[in-house]
């Protein structure tokens, strides 16, 4: 009875236009989903208050952890707008309450979210598995490092401005993306993954060995911070906001591209390349475009990374970066920018939250669980998510449907 009453009430309130669903569809929705959907009007303001007061009660890290979980639930229930609003306010508001260390983590989360959004264009939209994404990140970072650092610190002593290097790096890495894309156009799936992995390693080894240009293993240091309207963006929060803006721009741009002609071409290629080509999609151009866009975002990320770290070393750009970015895209949910952001918060943020947690049960004494065992947990989590939810935590609706389709097909044909 209560469920029926709730349904009628929901229909009466007629939010169908807003949710872009018909009243009949609403009638069919299970009551549980309705509770979540309308409960948020009550819960969200409370959460906003909790987000504000939380830090003083639970400490900033647990507030962060709780918010991530709540956000996941909200984003799952398709109440996208509110989840995003909460996310945005949290991302903007929380860093002001944090100490330097925690701000650094927020910076990392935002940076990885941005890299994830870039990689998502390649992997999620166009379906090209790229394990060498770090190459573009490294190139962007080294370009800014070399063009801005003084000669004594391994740079070229040119002193180019951050805002000038940023577009330069994006163009350079986009060209690199195309240069990588051309030879691998014919490769698919696992082979593509391995070739791109090799590409990433080659770039890292080159940076390490060409010490005449890159200063080799000594790295490049004394990289200046960017200036904005006459003010130096020196602290982690200022640079965090630079990355966050980059994130929003990248997210907005990539969602718009996804819904455009280009996005549809990518989707066609992802589903079946041969059929797409048969239907007149120029697979070469669109694949290269995906590589170029993804690479440019990675390059921009690299520039900001160099500015924040003030020093870059070849060993910062190993395979682990590529794997982390790929993992957060896939765990978050391929093809969905929101999923990528959630993935970044989970994979980059939660291990840090867990850093000083200790477990002391029976004869198990694990101190500094997060610091020492976070990569162990990370590996186990990758396996667990893949086994339990191979489509990711927050897949785009379309991708989720594709996964179902693929499983049905495979169940039928047994391939």
């Amino acid at each position: 009875m209560a469920a029926d009453a709730l349904r009628t009430l929901a229909t009466k309130l007629s939010p169908a236009r807003y949710w872009q669903r018909s009243a009949e569809a609403l009638q069919r929705t299970p009551p549980g989903a309705l509770v979540v959907r309308y409960g948020q009007f009550v819960v969200l303001p409370l959460l906003a208050i909790a987000g504000g007061l939380g830090p003083s009660y639970f400490g900033i890290r647990w507030t962060f952890a709780i918010l991530v979980v709540v956000m996941y639930v909200l984003l799952r229930s398709r109440s996208g707008l509110f989840g995003l609003a909460l996310l945005a306010s949290m991302l903007v508001y929380l860093p002001h309450q944090m100490d330097v260390f925690e701000r650094g983590i927020m910076f990392d989360i935002a940076l990885y979210a941005m890299l994830g959004i870039g990689l998502n264009v390649v992997v999620g939209f166009a379906g090209l598995l790229d394990l060498g994404y770090v190459a573009f990140f490294a190139s962007g970072a080294y370009l800014y490092a070399l063009l801005s650092a003084p000669e004594s610190a391994g740079g070229f002593d040119v002193g180019t401005s951050f805002w000038l290097v940023l577009p330069m790096a994006m163009v350079l890495t986009a060209l690199m993306g195309i240069a990588l894309g051309v030879p691998v156009l014919r490769l698919r799936g696992d082979y593509l993954a391995i070739v791109t992995l090799g590409f990433g390693e080659i770039i890292r080894i080159m940076i390490r060995n060409e010490d005449g240009v890159t200063n080799g293993t000594f790295g490049v240091f004394s990289i200046p911070k960017p200036h904005f309207v006459g003010r130096e963006l020196s602290g982690p929060v200022e640079l965090y906001f630079v990355v966050l803006s980059g994130c929003f721009i990248a997210a907005f741009a990539s969602e718009r591209i996804r819904d455009s002609r280009v996005g549809r071409a990518w989707e066609a290629i992802r589903e079946d390349e041969d059929v797409a080509a048969g239907m007149g999609v120029d697979t070469t151009v669109y694949k290269l475009l995906a590589f170029a866009i993804g690479a440019a975002i990675g390059g921009a990320g690299g520039v900001v990374y160099a500015a924040k770290q003030t020093a870059v070393f070849p060993q910062d750009f190993n395979l682990d970066v590529s794997i982390n970015v790929l993992a957060l895209v896939i765990i978050g949910g391929m093809g969905n920018v929101r999923g990528v952001v959630l993935g970044a918060m989970l994979l980059i943020g939660l291990p840090e939250v867990l850093r000083d947690v200790s477990v002391d049960v029976g004869f198990v004494h694990l101190t500094n669980l997060g610091a020492d065992y976070r990569l162990v947990i990370f590996g186990a989590a990758l396996v667990a998510v893949m086994v339990l939810r191979p489509e990711g935590l927050l897949p785009s609706t379309r991708r989720a449907a594709e996964f179902e389709q693929a499983e049905l097909l495979e169940a039928e044909t047994g391939v």
Binding site: V184, Y191, G198, E201, L375, L382, M386, E410
Partner: protein, 316 residues
């Protein structure tokens, strides 16, 4: 950059080339043995087992723990060193096989019908998990193997051959032959080949596919574990990240020989080892890995069916 001048300056003497060749064959044998694991699993599942290099690493650690246990409990020189080495190798194989079966059951089998990305990520997860467990177990310090072989080398003219190197050379050939016989002559081997050819038909012919896949993982893991122990004795240390580079190189070897092909992986391993060793003469040792990756990229782009394999459009 490159030390092209090196050749002209010194004038390459024959012995130097032979030395490089022998070193190349030695490491190539290791690549070949590991590559078989990749190629077997790829053959039956069409999946790259990213965690295969970690089985090699676990084998090396098992070898270390076994050998140190022997060293602590009895006098090395008095007891039979041949026996201790054999026990260490068998232990390495047992541990690697156990782990491989576990990872197949937990991380891969549930994903057998999932899209191809899922098992790949799951395998990456297993690889990170194993590597970091060992990092914690060893407190991030490499373990130095007890001395099993005399450190002196057999010298023939200018050519130096460590005893452990000879052992490694012989043993890798032995394992390759053993696996080849297993695949060609035994019932389980026939089943593996049948499943690789066509899983459904094999299943209709009464072959237990699950069991065959487990056998495949076990066979690959046994080789990787054994290779880990012997390689550990050769380089005398075991570290938690030692699986990565040999793993990638072995994968390259498998691709060079045409992935899915058993003789191809063996040939590819030796080919890669020799190419790498000879390339150090031209580009310097620090570019060794770049040469291997370039080779991999080149082969995948121009001959995705492998240097020695036949063209098969289905796979590329």
């Amino acid at each position: 950059m490159a030390s092209w001048h090196y050749l002209r300056q010194e004038g390459a003497c024959v012995q130097e080339w032979i030395q490089l060749l022998i070193d190349g064959v030695t490491i190539g044998g290791v690549y070949a043995v590991i590559a078989l694991g990749y190629t077997l699993v790829y053959g039956v599942l069409r999946m790259i087992n990213f965690a295969h290099g970690e089985l090699f690493m676990m084998g090396a650690f098992t070898g270390y723990f076994t050998l140190t246990a022997f060293e602590n409990h009895s006098n090395f020189n008095d007891s039979l060193p041949v026996l201790t080495i054999a026990v260490a190798i068998v232990m390495g194989m047992v541990v690697a096989v156990t782990l491989a079966l576990l990872m197949e059951r937990i991380a891969y089998r549930p994903l057998r019908n999932a899209p191809r990305l899922a098992p790949l990520i799951s395998a990456i997860g297993v690889s990170i998990l194993l590597r970091n467990i060992m990092l914690r177990v060893t407190n991030a310090q490499g373990k130095v193997y007890p001395q099993v072989f005399p450190r002196t080398a057999l010298e023939i003219g200018e050519i130096r051959l460590l005893y452990v190197q000879i052992f490694l050379l012989v043993l890798s050939v032995f394992f390759l032959a053993l696996l080849y016989l297993f695949i060609q002559r035994t019932k389980a081997g026939v089943a593996i080949r049948a499943v690789a050819e066509d899983r459904n038909t094999a299943s209709l012919m009464g072959i237990d596919v699950d069991r065959t896949i487990m056998t495949t993982f076990a066979a690959g893991a046994a080789l990787a574990g054994a290779a880990g122990v012997v390689y550990g004795m050769f380089v005398t240390t075991a570290t938690s990240d030692m699986g990565f580079i040999p793993g990638i190189k072995a994968f390259t070897a498998a691709v060079l020989g045409g992935i899915g092909s058993v003789p191809g992986a063996m040939a590819g391993g030796y080919f890669l080892g020799i190419t790498e060793a000879l390339s150090t003469k031209f580009f310097g040792a620090q570019y060794k890995d770049v040469v291997a990756f370039m080779l991999l990229v080149g082969v995948l782009i121009f001959r995705p069916w492998g240097l020695f394999g036949k063209r098969d459009d289905k796979r590329a």
